[in-house]
C-alpha cells in the first residue's frame, strides 16, 4: 500500500467520528457565536447584524449576573462535598464487610434514578408542613422553613439534591481506582510505622489523584449542565434565587424566544466550559501523577 492510499485509509477511519463531532459539536458552537452578533428574527422581521449589542445587553442584565453567581455558588457548594462524600463512601465499601454488595448498590441507586423522578421525590421531602423533612422537624418541636419558597434556602436545597445524586456516581470511580491499588503498598506502609491517616495522605491520595481529576472535571461540567431539578422544583424562583445559567438560557431561548440573546448567553457557558477543559489539560494534568 503506498503512502497516499494509506492516508486515505486513515481519513476514512476517522470520518465517522469526524462527521459526528463536526455536525453536533463544532458547527453548533460556531453557529452560536455567529448568531450572537445578530438580532432575533421575528415573524416578518429578519435577523440583522447588531455587532456587540447583545453582549452589552448581557452586561446590563441583572438576571444573567445572578444566574452566573448562583451557578458559581452551586458549583462551590456541590463539588467538594460530593467528592468528599464519594471518597468516604468508596473507602467504606472497599473493605471486607458483611453486606458490601448491598451497600454499594444502595450508594449507587441515586445515580440510576432519572433526575426528573428524583426531583419530584425531593419536592415532596421539602414541602412545608407535611413534607418528610417538615414532619421530622415537627416531631422535634421545630417549624421547618419554607425550603423552596425562601430566597435563602432555595438554592442550598437544590444543592443537597445534587450532592445526593452525584456522590454515588463519583464513588464508583473511586471504588474502581481503589481496587487497582496493590495491597502490598498498605502492608509496606504499616510496616514502616505509618499511621492510617499517613497512609491515606501520603500513599492513597496521590495514587487517587488521576481519578480525583477526572471526577473534578466531570463534576464541574455537571454543575453547569444539570438543570432538570431546577425545572421541576423551583423554576428558578423565588425571584431568580435558584436560577442557574443553563436554565436561564433555556428560558430566554424557549420561553421568550429571544434566540440571539440565548446564543449570547450560550457563548458565556461555552467559554466557562472551554476554560475548564483548558485548565485540566494544561495545568492539572502536569501536576498529576499517572501510574
Amino acid at each position: 500500500m503506498n503512502r497516499s492510499l494509506q492516508a486515505v485509509y486513515g481519513w476514512l477511519l476517522l470520518l465517522p467520528a469526524l462527521v459526528l463531532l463536526a455536525a453536533f459539536t463544532h458547527y453548533p458552537a460556531l453557529a452560536t457565536l455567529w448568531h450572537s452578533f445578530f438580532s432575533t428574527p421575528r415573524g416578518s422581521r429578519p435577523a440583522r447584524f447588531v455587532g456587540l449589542e447583545n453582549y452589552a445587553l448581557m452586561r446590563d442584565d441583572p438576571v444573567f449576573w445572578q444566574s452566573l453567581w448562583n451557578n458559581l455558588w452551586f458549583a462551590l457548594g456541590t463539588i467538594p462535598t460530593s467528592i468528599a462524600i464519594a471518597l468516604v463512601m468508596a473507602l467504606w465499601v472497599n473493605r471486607n464487610l458483611a453486606g458490601r454488595g448491598f451497600l454499594r448498590m444502595a450508594y449507587f441507586t441515586p445515580t440510576v434514578l432519572p433526575m426528573v423522578a428524583v426531583a419530584n421525590i425531593w419536592l415532596f421531602f421539602y414541602t412545608p408542613q407535611y413534607g418528610l423533612i417538615a414532619q421530622v422537624m415537627h416531631a422535634f418541636g421545630a417549624a421547618g422553613p419554607n425550603w423552596l419558597g425562601s430566597r435563602d434556602t432555595a438554592l442550598p436545597a437544590l444543592m443537597v439534591v445534587t450532592i445526593w445524586k452525584e456522590a454515588g456516581f463519583f464513588m464508583i470511580f473511586y471504588l474502581a481506582a481503589l481496587q487497582t491499588v496493590s495491597p502490598s503498598l498498605r502492608e509496606a506502609a504499616l510496616l514502616e510505622g505509618a499511621s492510617r491517616w499517613q497512609y491515606f495522605r501520603r500513599v492513597l491520595w496521590p495514587l487517587l489523584m488521576p481519578t480525583t481529576l477526572f471526577v473534578l472535571v466531570n463534576a464541574l461540567i455537571n454543575a453547569f449542565r444539570l438543570v432538570d431539578h431546577v425545572v421541576v422544583m423551583t423554576r428558578g424562583g423565588p425571584d431568580n434565587a435558584s436560577t442557574l445559567l443553563l436554565f436561564y438560557i433555556y428560558q430566554v431561548g424557549f420561553s421568550f424566544w429571544d434566540t440571539s440573546y440565548a446564543a449570547t448567553l450560550t457563548v458565556v457557558l461555552l467559554l466557562i466550559l472551554a476554560v475548564t477543559a483548558l485548565v485540566k489539560f494544561r495545568w492539572l494534568d502536569r501536576r498529576t501523577h499517572y501510574q
Binding site: G43, G149, R151, D239
Partner: protein, 431 residues
C-alpha cells in the same frame, strides 16, 4: 400463452380492486392537534375519545391529537416545530400566548375563516369574558376551549371549628383577613399547624393570582393592544401590599412563596383552610376531599372579579386551506353546547358558551355540583388574563417582582416600580 393472459387478468383485477377504495374515498385531510394537560384527571383519554367521535361524524377529516406537555411545553413545542417547518395545524395553547403567536406570524384570524352566517353566530356565542383574551386589532385569533377563572375553595369543617358560618365565605378583604385570623392555628411551641389562607405565588402563575387582587381593587394591568402595562399605579401597589400583609402583618399565610402545584394538596391535607386556585382543580378536589368544602367568588375590595385563564384553539397559518377549514370544523364541533358540557363535566373547566349551560346534562351537573356555577357567575365581572407582546418575558418580570416582595427582598412599591421599568423597556418596540 393462456397462462400469461390469465396472469395479466388476475393482476389487472387485483390492481383494480386495490385501487378501488382510493377512488371511492378521497384521502382524508390530516390535521395535527397539539394539546397540553394542565389539570388532574385522564385528559389524554378524554381527548382521544373526542377525536374518535368527531371522525365518526366527519369521515373526510383525520385529526391527530398530540399530547405536548404543560402549557409552557406546548407553546415551546409548537414554536419549535414552526421554526423547523413542520408546525401543527391546530393547537390548544394559553389564551395569553395570542400576541406571541401573532408576532411569530404563526396563526390566522378565526374571523377570516368563519365567514358564513352560522359561523358568525357560533363565534358570537361565547362568554365575552373569554373573548377578551381572544381578540386584538379588530380580529378574533383564538376560540375559547378549556377556560377557567380563579375561585376560592374553603373547608367547611374548619370554618365550623373556628366558630364561622360554613355556608358563608368571606366576601370582602376585611372579612378575608378576619376569617383567616380565626382559621390560623398554632401549636404549644408557637408553630403554625394550620394556615388561614394560601394564595399560590411560586412557579409561573403568581401574576394570575395577583390579578384576583388587582381586579377587585379596580385596577387593570394592561391595555388591549398588549403594548402597555400599568404596574406602578397606586391601586396595583395597594393590592400587592394587601397580599404581602397577609403573611408579613397578619401572619395568616406562610412567609416566602407558596407553591402552585402543592396548593390543592395543602387544602386536601387540611393545612390551609382557604386556598385560591383555578376552577380546573374542582374535579380533583371534589374527588379527593374527605370533608365538605365550599367554593366562592373572589372577595371584593371596591368591586368583584377575577381574571379568566386557560387555553384557546389556534389555527396555524402554515396549513393548507383544506386543513384550516378542517381545523375550524373541529374547533366548532368541540365547542358545540353538548360537547362543551361534556368537557366541562369531565375536567372542571368552565363551559365556554351560555348555550352549553342550557343543555340537560349541564343543568343536571349544576344541580349536583352547585360549586361549578360559581365560576360561571363570576364571569360577569371577570377581566382578561395578563397578556402582552413578548408575553412570557413580561409575565416573568411581574412574577419576579411579586416573589421579591413576598420573600421580603423589596417593598411592594419598589418591586412594582422595577417591574414597570423593565416591562416598558421590553414593550417599547411594540408601540
Amino acid at each position: 400463452m393462456r397462462r400469461t393472459a390469465l396472469k395479466a387478468l388476475a393482476a389487472g383485477l387485483a390492481g383494480a380492486f386495490l385501487s378501488l377504495p382510493l377512488y371511492a374515498q378521497p384521502k382524508p385531510v390530516e390535521v395535527e392537534l397539539y394539546y397540553p394537560v394542565a389539570v388532574g384527571g385522564p385528559i389524554t383519554k378524554i381527548v382521544d375519545d373526542m377525536v374518535v367521535a368527531f371522525e365518526k361524524d366527519h369521515p373526510g377529516i383525520d385529526i391527530k391529537p398530540i399530547y405536548a406537555g404543560s402549557y409552557q411545553d406546548s407553546i415551546a413545542k409548537a414554536l419549535t416545530a414552526l421554526k423547523g417547518g413542520t408546525p401543527p395545524q391546530l393547537a390548544v395553547l394559553l389564551s395569553t400566548d395570542m400576541f406571541t403567536l401573532i408576532d411569530e406570524d404563526a396563526i390566522v384570524p378565526i374571523d377570516g375563516l368563519a365567514k358564513s352566517e352560522a359561523d358568525k353566530k357560533w363565534l358570537g356565542g361565547f362568554y365575552d369574558a373569554f373573548m377578551q383574551n381572544s381578540r386584538t386589532g379588530g380580529h378574533v385569533w383564538g376560540v375559547p376551549f378549556q377556560r377557567s377563572t380563579i375561585v376560592m375553595y374553603y373547608n367547611k369543617d374548619l370554618f365550623k371549628q373556628a366558630g364561622l358560618d360554613p355556608e358563608r365565605a368571606p366576601a370582602t378583604w376585611e372579612e378575608l383577613v378576619d376569617y383567616s385570623k380565626k382559621l390560623t392555628k398554632k401549636d404549644a411551641a408557637g408553630n403554625v399547624t394550620q394556615w388561614g389562607i394560601k394564595i399560590p405565588s411560586g412557579g409561573a402563575f403568581a401574576y394570575w393570582l395577583f390579578q384576583a387582587l388587582t381586579t377587585p381593587n379596580d385596577a387593570i394591568l394592561m391595555n388591549e393592544e398588549g403594548n402597555q402595562v400599568y404596574l406602578d399605579k397606586p391601586a396595583v401597589i395597594e393590592a400587592a401590599q394587601f397580599w404581602n400583609d397577609l403573611s408579613a402583618k397578619h401572619g395568616v399565610m406562610p412567609r416566602g412563596t407558596v407553591d402552585w402545584g402543592t396548593t390543592p394538596k395543602d387544602f386536601l391535607e387540611k393545612k390551609a383552610a382557604i386556598v385560591w386556585t383555578t376552577t380546573g382543580n374542582l374535579t380533583n378536589i371534589r374527588k379527593n376531599a374527605d370533608f365538605p368544602f365550599g367554593v366562592a367568588m373572589m372577595p371584593k375590595a371596591k368591586r368583584g372579579g377575577s381574571p379568566t385563564g386557560g387555553g384557546n384553539f389556534y389555527i396555524f397559518k402554515s396549513g393548507t386551506p383544506e386543513q384550516q377549514a378542517a381545523a375550524l370544523k373541529f374547533a366548532q364541533w368541540a365547542t358545540a353546547p353538548e360537547r362543551a358540557a361534556d368537557w366541562s363535566i369531565a375536567t372542571g373547566y368552565v363551559a365556554v358558551t351560555p348555550a352549553a349551560w342550557e343543555t340537560d346534562k349541564m343543568k343536571k351537573y349544576a344541580a349536583e355540583v352547585p360549586a361549578a356555577t360559581v365560576a360561571r357567575d363570576q364571569l360577569e365581572v371577570s377581566v382578561a388574563e395578563f397578556s402582552t407582546h413578548e408575553n412570557q418575558r413580561v409575565t416573568k418580570t411581574l412574577n419576579d417582582a411579586l416573589q421579591a416582595m413576598l420573600t421580603g427582598a423589596k417593598t411592594p412599591k419598589q418591586a412594582l416600580a422595577d417591574a414597570q421599568r423593565e416591562a416598558d423597556r421590553v414593550l417599547r418596540a411594540y408601540r
